[in-house]
Every structure is written in structure tokens, then in C-alpha cells.
């Protein structure tokens, strides 16, 4: 079992002594836009989405209302089974897409995990995947909304592409490994517990993906 002493308690961005920044702490203890009771009638909301975190196995559920007059996000409610960062990041995300009259769904989709983290005053590296969870949940809810409004061309489904056919390793597996802290090919091999990249081509491709995801989430 993990000892709290093992964790560096100085926030790398803020130097604060609590495990998280004061803003994270505030959103954890006082989450905004939390859904208190499940809607009796799902049609109260315009869209619904649920997503699980591949990194740690946590879950998140979101409900959204769109203002019919402005086509902007009026309400974004959520529940999460996850750590304090997941709670705080979702809370902050929900604030960002609804504040000042709300964003359009297209605009909201452009909010990156990094933007949320910035507003939170930083998260420990190990916790970046928690903010990605909110991002992915919103992609799902947006898809649901586009589907319901008949804008099928806007739907983005994250499919997995096989990178190493011998072991059936996909880009998703590599994304996951990077989110769990893998920095290079060797780390990815350690995380996946297999020798990814039998051939030079596969190796290069994996290395490129690691760089890509590192850039995406840590850049």
C-alpha cells in the first residue's frame, strides 16, 4: 500500500506544501457544477457522456444543457469516481465552458487539458491523466450532442490504430503509457510489459508516438 510519505509534497509548479495547489484544493473541497441527484428524466439534458480513465481505472459522467437561443453550453454537470485532481479538473473544466455566457460546443472542444491545468495552478505530472479524463468525457458528450442534433460529420470517434501487429499494440496503448509517465521507448516497453518494436520501423513509429503524446499532454 502506498505511503503518503513517498509522494513529493511540494507542488512542482507552485512550491506549495499541500500535495495540490490552493486552487485544486478549493475545487476539490468545493466542486462547482456537481450533479447532486441523477436526473429523473434524462431528456432534461441535451446530451450525456461517460468515460473511463485507461490509466488508473477511474470514471466520469457528464450531462450538458445547451442554450437554444445562443447554441452555447448553459449547463455542464458531472460526477466522478476519481482522485482529488480528477474532481478538481472536472470542476474547473465545467467552469471554463460555462462562464461568461458559455462556449459553443465547438469552442469547448478546443479547451485543452493544459488550459485546465493552467487555471488550476498546475497538477503533479503523475496526475495529468486525471485532467485528460474531463477532456475525453466532453468529447463523448459532444458526440452525443452532435448525434442528437443530426450533425454526424462533427462526431469524432477515437479509434485505435495497430502499431505493432505482432503484439497488437495500438496507439492508444502508447498514449496510455505516456500518460502513466513513460518518457521513451524503454519506458513504454516496461509499462506494457512486452518488447514493443521488433523491427526498426515499428520502433521508430513508437518513438514518434511517444514524442507526439508527450507534446500533447506535457508540452
Amino acid at each position: 500500500m502506498n505511503n503518503k510519505q513517498d509522494i513529493d509534497v511540494i507542488n512542482q509548479y507552485t512550491g506549495e506544501k499541500w500535495y495540490y495547489s490552493d486552487i485544486v484544493k478549493d475545487h476539490f473541497f468545493h466542486p462547482r457544477n456537481l450533479l447532486w441527484e441523477r436526473p429523473k428524466d434524462e431528456s432534461e439534458y441535451d446530451a450525456h457522456g461517460m468515460v473511463g480513465s485507461p490509466a488508473c481505472g477511474d470514471m466520469m459522467e457528464m450531462w450538458m444543457k445547451i442554450d437554444p437561443a445562443t447554441a452555447r453550453v448553459k449547463d455542464l454537470k458531472w460526477k466522478t469516481f476519481g482522485c482529488a485532481s480528477a474532481i478538481a479538473a472536472t470542476s474547473m473544466f465545467s467552469v471554463m465552458v460555462t462562464e461568461n455566457g458559455g462556449l459553443s460546443v465547438e469552442e469547448a472542444l478546443k479547451v485543452r487539458p493544459q488550459d485546465v491545468m493552467l487555471r488550476l495552478g498546475g497538477l503533479p505530472n503523475r496526475k495529468i491523466h486525471c485532467s485528460v479524463l474531463a477532456d475525453k468525457a466532453f468529447q463523448k458528450i459532444a458526440n452525443d450532442y452532435f448525434r442528437k442534433t443530426g450533425r454526424f460529420d462533427k462526431i469524432v470517434v477515437e479509434g485505435a490504430r495497430v502499431i505493432d501487429p505482432r503484439l497488437n499494440i495500438t496507439d492508444k496503448d502508447i498514449e496510455e503509457a505516456v500518460l502513466e509517465g513513460a518518457q521513451n521507448l524503454e519506458d513504454v516497453q516496461k509499462k506494457l510489459k512486452v518488447g514493443v518494436g521488433a523491427s526498426e520501423e515499428v520502433k521508430t513509429e513508437v518513438e514518434q508516438l511517444v514524442r507526439f503524446y508527450k507534446d500533447k499532454y506535457y508540452g
Binding site: 473511463g52 485507461p54 466522478t80 474532481i87 485505435a160
Partner: protein, 425 residues
């Protein structure tokens, strides 16, 4: 500050299985070994001789406490090193063979066994059942002529369940037909040392790990008991200290502290167990009365008197730890979110529970300072925190669930969820 205010600011520390404070009597015993008695036990001169003498006295004190001979005690830097020395030491000397251990060992045993498996050793990881107790007949069934080592912990560090070590010791002895030699029997007794009988002959063990940090001794010190004649390959080599089994200048201060701590722990263990077991049972029954969907992990009675490990369904451990930390309560969790590897507790999974149960597992371990008032304070705060976090959570699990609750949340994205050896689609 008035007494009242003092009491109000006090923290309730319930993570004694992680580590204990150093006992004042231990600190006192160590006192003169920092600046006055600083000699290297290898020196021929006065300071060296005195260090050597103190080392000898401590070694004897420890040997007495566990019914061993002084030359059977090898000092190490702690539990992890002792476990590593036992596993790699035996396998290194034997060069090949079969090893038996359990699925829920401490990582300090598990990881070496996993590495050995990769290197070509045959390793059996025994199932520990729903109760978290190894069945001796399973050990018996797994023994083979080529088995070199059986390593089973005395009491589990997460759920506190006590393993039938003496019974397994007997089985191994019978298997050997009275002869010496393989298989050797190792037990990690770090968690047990404060509460159970450590007599190595009654237990029938050949190797035993004990450390200071769990028994109110100093951190950074431990020992491996190695029965005379048992062959191990040293892992740290150099100056040849510790009968050539573990090189490095002996930290006399720490060793004196460890000896004192073990002596006290063994002298007080019966009384302390009798005090804590009812508190443990009180806490478990109260929490189950006050909070719905709380499941006790591990056998209710065959567990250390200070260990409470419960899964509070639908909530995630890190969130509860931080929530109660703000209420001045310290405890730990088996949630994946708090672990470096983002993997949930292998112990809870070994009990056959789905990964959400591991995520929701909370360990409260009591110690010498714990009182009923402390527990009442926790019992008062915990239900509110749980109520709140359950509002935050989208889950609603059944108490008897055996599999993951919402695989669709993951499956839709073509992703696997790893939970140690199992993966969910």
C-alpha cells in the same frame, strides 16, 4: 494553550502499519551512540572494541527474542533488503529450481520472485482465497523435489491476515523427511513482530525478515534471521561484515535501537494485542452500522489486532484520504490513484475482488497511542465524508459485486483497463 485546545489540534494517526514513531525508551538506548560511542566495530583499538561489544550484546538480545543463535542474525538496512537477501540469496546459491510464494506478498518479495521467474526460475504464486489466508494443503500440493524456497509472509501488511506459518513449517519439515537442505522456508515478519510470537523454532522457519520501522524502532535497520547451514549468496559485498553475508560498516546506534525495540515489542505484545483487538472489532462493527456498503477485507478474526481494512464502495481512496487529512486523520488507501504505478492494491485484487473495491479500500492501522476516543472521533467524521464523496461519485456498486461495474465506459474507446494481471475490455 489549554488542554482542551491541545486536544482539538491533535492529529489522529492511524497508519502504524506504514511506520511507527520511535519509542522514547529506544531513543534513550540509542542516545550515546551518536557522538560518544561512534567507533567502527572493525577497529582493533578501544573505540572499535567497544562498538564490537555493543554489537555483540544487541545481536544476543535479538537472538534471545526469537529463539535463535546470535550468529544467525544478519543486520540489513530494513525489511526490503532482508526480503531481497532471502529471495535472491537463496536463488543465487541454488542457481535454479522452484519457488513457492503467494499472490499477496509485499512487493519486496513479489518483485524479486517476478524477476526470478523472468530469469528462468519456476515460481508458483499461491492463491490466498477470499479471506486472505493461504491454505497449508495448497503449499503441500505445490512442493516438489526441485523446490528450493517457500516464502510466505507472517501477517499481510495491507489486510493484516495472519498466515499459518507454524503449520506450513511442519509440512515443509515433513516433506524434507527430517533432513536439512531444500526447500528453505522464509517468512516476512515485519508486520507481525509487534503482535505475534517470533520464535523461529516454533514457526519452523529457516529465514525471517524483521525491521525496526514497524516496531517503534529506528528506520533504516532490520535483520534477516538465517538458520545455521542455510546457504545464501550475499548481495552486498565489500568489507565482509555480518559473517560475509552483508558488507558495510555496522550502524551500531540503529542496531542497538532495533534490539531494544524488538525486546519491548515482544515483552508487550500480548497486553497490546488484548487492548487493540476489541478496539478493532468495535471500529469495524460501528462503521458498518453507521455507513452502508462497507466491506471488511480479509478474515475478521485471524488478523493483526491493529489492522482494519475496509472497502467503502463507490468512493475513491485518495479523495477520502485528503478529505479526512483536512480533519486531522491519517490513514492509507489501496487506490490506484495514489500509487506510483497507477495500479490498484494487488492484495485486494488477490482476494478476488473487482478493481473498484481496491480503489475504495482504506487501511486504518492502530498503535500504542490509539485510544477509543480517537476511534470515536473518526467514526464521527467518516460518515459525513463518505456521504459527500458518494454524492460526487457516479458509481453505485453492489456489495457482492465480482466484476467491473461499467465496462462500457472504457470499451467504447477501444481501451483496456489494467488491474494487475487482469485486464478488462
Amino acid at each position: 494553550m489549554s488542554d482542551n485546545k491541545n486536544a482539538k489540534m491533535k492529529r489522529i494517526y492511524l497508519d502504524y502499519a506504514a511506520t511507527t514513531p520511535t519509542d522514547q525508551r529506544v531513543k534513550d538506548a540509542m542516545g550515546r551512540f551518536w557522538t560518544e560511542e561512534f567507533g567502527n566495530a572493525g577497529g582493533l583499538y578501544e573505540e572499535g572494541r567497544r562498538a564490537k561489544e555493543n554489537l555483540r550484546a544487541s545481536r544476543e538480545q535479538i537472538a534471545r527474542a526469537i529463539g535463535a543463535r546470535p550468529d544467525e542474525i544478519i543486520f540489513t538496512s530494513g525489511g526490503t533488503e532482508s526480503d531481497n537477501l532471502a529471495i535472491f540469496g537463496v536463488s543465487g546459491a541454488a542457481k535454479h529450481g522452484h519457488i513457492i510464494t503467494t499472490e499477496f506478498e509485499h512487493h519486496a518479495v513479489l518483485e524479486p520472485c517476478q524477476r526470478l521467474k523472468k530469469e528462468g526460475f519456476d515460481v508458483t504464486f499461491l492463491d490466498v482465497g477470499e479471506d486472505g489466508i493461504v491454505k497449508p494443503e495448497n503449499v503441500k500440493r505445490s512442493l516438489r523435489p526441485e523446490t528450493i524456497l517457500v516464502s510466505i509472509m507472517y501477517a499481510n501488511n495491507e489486510i493484516g491476515t495472519i498466515q499459518p506459518i507454524a503449520e506450513i513449517g511442519k509440512i515443509i519439515k515433513e516433506f524434507k523427511g527430517g533432513g536439512a537442505g531444500y526447500p528453505y522456508f522464509h517468512t516476512d515478519a515485519c508486520q507481525a513482530a509487534g503482535y505475534l510470537d517470533l520464535n523461529v523454532n516454533k514457526l519452523g522457519v529457516d529465514l525471517m525478515t524483521v525491521n525496526g520501522s514497524k516496531i517503534y524502532g529506528p528506520k533504516g535497520i532490520g535483520f534477516l534471521y538465517k538458520r545455521a547451514g542455510v546457504k545464501i549468496k550475499p548481495q552486498i559485498i565489500g568489507g565482509g561484515q555480518e559473517m560475509r553475508m552483508r558488507s558495510g560498516t555496522e550502524p551500531v546506534a540503529l542496531i542497538v535501537g532495533l534490539a531494544k525495540a524488538l525486546e519491548i515489542a515482544q515483552a508487550e505484545r500480548v497486553a497490546e494485542s488484548a487492548r487493540l483487538a476489541p478496539l478493532r472489532d468495535y471500529f469495524v462493527s460501528e462503521i458498518q452500522r453507521r455507513v452502508p456498503k462497507v466491506i471488511l477485507n480479509g478474515h475478521p478474526a485471524k488478523r493483526l489486532p491493529n489492522n482494519i481494512n475496509i472497502s467503502i464502495l463507490d468512493i475513491e481512496g485518495e479523495a477520502l484520504v485528503l478529505y479526512l487529512d483536512a480533519k486531522r486523520i491519517s490513514f492509507s488507501t489501496g487506490s490506484a490513484c495514489t500509487s506510483e504505478s497507477l495500479e490498484p492494491s494487488h492484495v485486494i485484487l488477490a482476494l478476488g475482488k473487482p478493481y473498484e473495491f481496491a480503489h475504495a479500500s482504506m487501511r486504518f492501522t492502530m498503535g500504542r497511542s490509539t485510544t477509543k476516543e480517537d476511534l470515536d472521533y473518526v467514526l464521527n467524521e467518516l460518515p459525513n465524508a463518505v456521504l459527500w464523496l458518494r454524492k460526487v461519485s457516479p458509481l453505485n456498486l453492489e456489495a457482492g459485486a465480482k466484476s467491473m461495474s461499467h465496462p462500457e465506459a472504457f470499451a467504447g474507446e477501444n481501451l483496456k483497463v489494467k488491474a494487475k494481471s487482469k485486464s478488462y475490455k
